[in-house]
Amino acid sequence: MTLAYVRTEDAPKRPPPATTAGTWARLRDQFAPTPLSGLATIVIAALLAWTAWTIIHWALISAVWSAPDREACNAVGAGACWPFVKAKALQWVYGFYPIEERWRANLVFLLGGISLLGLLVPQIPLKGLNALFFFLIYPVLTFYLLRGDHFGLVRVDTDQWGGLLVTLIVALTGIVASMPIGILLALGRRSKMPVVRSLSTAFIEIVRGVPLVTVLFMASVMFPLFMPPGVNPDKLLKALIGVALFSAAYMAETVRGGLQAIPKGQYEASMAVGLSYWRMMLLIIMPQALKVVIPGIVNSFISLFKDTSLVSIIGIFDLFNMVQSGFNDAKWASAQTGNTGYFVLGLVYWAFCFAMSRYSQFIERRLNTGHKR
């Protein structure tokens, strides 16, 4: 018996047999690995096709494209009522903001857009200055630009603001206010000082434990009682305070997650080189912690953006409320008006949120590769 064996020539490298790796086999593996799975493919594909067709048929084929009023949209078998959207679109963006003053809102959109772009695209420099502008100067500027009454601008009160403008203002306030308050609360909750720690914890847990509707309800009915008699805070302001407190509590927990992810060695090293508590936090810990939680922060912004629709419950005319209130317009009320309005609303909210979630995934991938290196 001989054990020895030596291969003298290489076995040929061949392509895989067609039954296991050809196009057909790959298709079978992806769409029908088992008969039951194949059946599921057919059923689900049919369902998807039917849904897609229904939507296309409603939104495009049988849609009413131009009409002076609701007449055509009320016809039997009519699809989406696009003339309604056309007639209301500007109101949905600006609310009741005076037409000749809308350039102010446009300027606010433009400045915010540019600044946000600068913050979000990693390649654009001057992040620090930009953040300073976005978180400090821009909110103040927005307030004075929109409200006016200074610098020769006509005064436009907040009850005339509305639509997407207000939705974005609410979201922006939530974002801008939640960052500093949230960071302070997160530090407070991790502090060694019992008074600070328990107060921060209590605030975070109480706010996170109740629904946003309750917080907004509290802001709208209780704040007026807390103010000195005779002072009646602005309706929008009350909503903004509610949203800011709410988002700050959630932001605090997100940031705390990031702080916990920072290894102890970073704290020890900072103290070893003689940094004070605040310097250590500002220069070493926070930059790292915030970087880790960027996806988490963006996710809480997505929730916040969706939650802005709740301010309509306490009577603010945000985008959601603005669109809904148009349904009752006698000129446009028809069988398809509501459907069309909700469809547009869905598209707008979805586009914003989907873009944010994609951005968060993009950053997550970037961070991951950064860590591996």
Binding site: G209, L225, S357
Partner: protein
């Protein structure tokens, strides 16, 4: 500080010895900060209490919970317990709490079922199955829940026929824009046998299961427990009723004028809320389930396969027990989110706890008291969930070195 040996307890250098040395002590600084925070808070509280008192005086109101025992004076579309406009405000709030719990429990059940199915679908090898699940998650979770509630309310439930043209199923169930109306079971004398039998069947199943497990431990043979006991559990209440001579009648709904008489109705507001809550929360549960299953390393199922366990047994004995540890804590917080989100009922007018809080406040003007009750109840629910999560985590934590 006696008997100093060289190199021990030397006085620290100059700065500490100055007149402001105390200022450099971290402990003193800590206490000062806390004192400042405390004073700030006390001042704020004082201002709030002072202002509130002044405001209440101006409104001719006083602080107190006596409004709870006064008559509510408003009607409700749906209630689980007896309620009329003569009932007290407290009872109205209880009706709301019960409705909130009802919607939360039903929503949790539906969301869990949908979420688990979709989460597992997303892991499918079949591209169409996985793609459809992904599409569902990406579309539904990026649209505000409030909008979804209205979409279900307006696009699906409103177009249903009116009472006159209601969809009639066997003259028993009527589907119309007033909701789903169905027979209301009325139990008479002797109907208690049904729950007793059901309870008996459950107890028997429990013993049967114990016996089956013992038998397996001793002989290795397994007994199909669920296959035999589920029919028994389902049939036992029927058997109980049969023995008692069918003490069960149904109050059938019938058309009377412009509405139904008799029967019980699930109002469309509740259906819209339930659909939206379940379908929306299910997307988050699906992601949780997917992450949980992915968190169990592939090596675990390989090791189970190498030991000869079938795919089903490997899932049941090895993968799922490990995945559940990852899934359950975020699942509990999703349940809590669903419960909190059910407060959006206020937007469609389903009388849940939040809605009734708002109504009672409108009727009585007791803003502070109402907000207080709302916060305490929702917080209580949250704390219960948190307590469960802590208990679960400590129980299920994997033992490590």
């Amino acid at each position: 500080m006696t008997a100093q040996s060289p190199g021990e307890l030397r006085q620290p250098p100059s700065r500490e010895a100055g007149p402001f040395a105390w200022f450099y002590s971290p402990r003193v600084r800590g206490w000062l900060t806390q004192l400042a925070v405390f004073l700030l808070l006390a001042w704020g509280l004082y201002a709030i209490i002072f202002n509130t008192q002044a405001n209440l005086k101006k409104l001719n109101q006083n602080f107190g919970f006596d409004f709870l025992t006064q008559a509510a004076g408003f009607d409700l579309s749906t209630s689980l317990i007896a309620y009329s406009s003569n009932a007290t405000n407290a009872r109205a709030l209880v009706v709301g709490l019960l409705n909130t719990i009802l919607i939360a429990v039903l929503g949790i059940i539906f969301a869990t079922v949908i979420g688990f199915i979709v989460g597992i679908m997303r892991l499918s090898r079949n591209k169409v199955v996985a793609g459809a699940a992904t599409l569902y998650v990406e579309v539904v979770r990026n649209i505000p829940l409030l909008l979804q509630i209205f979409i279900w309310y307006a696009l699906v439930l409103k177009p249903l026929p009116g009472v006159k043209g209601a969809i009639n199923l066997f003259d028993m169930i009527f589907i119309s824009n007033r909701g789903v109306t169905m027979p209301h079971p009325l139990f008479e004398e002797g109907a208690w046998l049904a729950p007793v039998f059901l309870f008996g069947a459950l107890v028997a199943t429990w013993f049967f299961r114990r016996w089956a497990r013992k038998k397996q431990e001793q002989t290795g043979k397994s007994t199909p427990v669920w296959l035999t006991s589920i029919p028994i559990i389902l049939l036992s209440p029927v058997l109980g009723l049969a023995l008692a001579g069918w003490p069960l009648t149904f109050d059938y709904p019938s058309l009377a004028g412009f509405n139904f008489k008799g029967g019980m109705t699930i109002v469309p507001e509740m259906l819209a809320l339930l659909l939206a809550l379940s379908i929306y929360t299910a997307t988050y549960i699906a992601e949780t389930v997917r992450a949980g299953i992915l968190a169990v390393s592939h090596g675990q199922s390989e090791a189970a396969a190498a030991l000869g366990l079938s795919r089903g047994k490997a899932l049941r004995l090895v993968v799922i027990p490990q995945a559940m540890r990852v899934i359950i804590p975020p699942l509990a917080s999703q349940y809590l989110n669903l419960t909190k989100n059910s407060s959006l009922a206020i937007a469609v007018g389903y009388p849940d706890f939040m809605y009734l809080g708002g109504t009672v406040n409108n009727q009585t003007g007791k803003a502070i008291e109402v907000v207080f009750i709302l916060m305490v109840v929702y917080l209580g629910l949250s704390l219960l969930t948190a307590a469960f999560m802590n208990w679960f985590n400590s129980r299920m934590k994997l033992v490590e070195r």
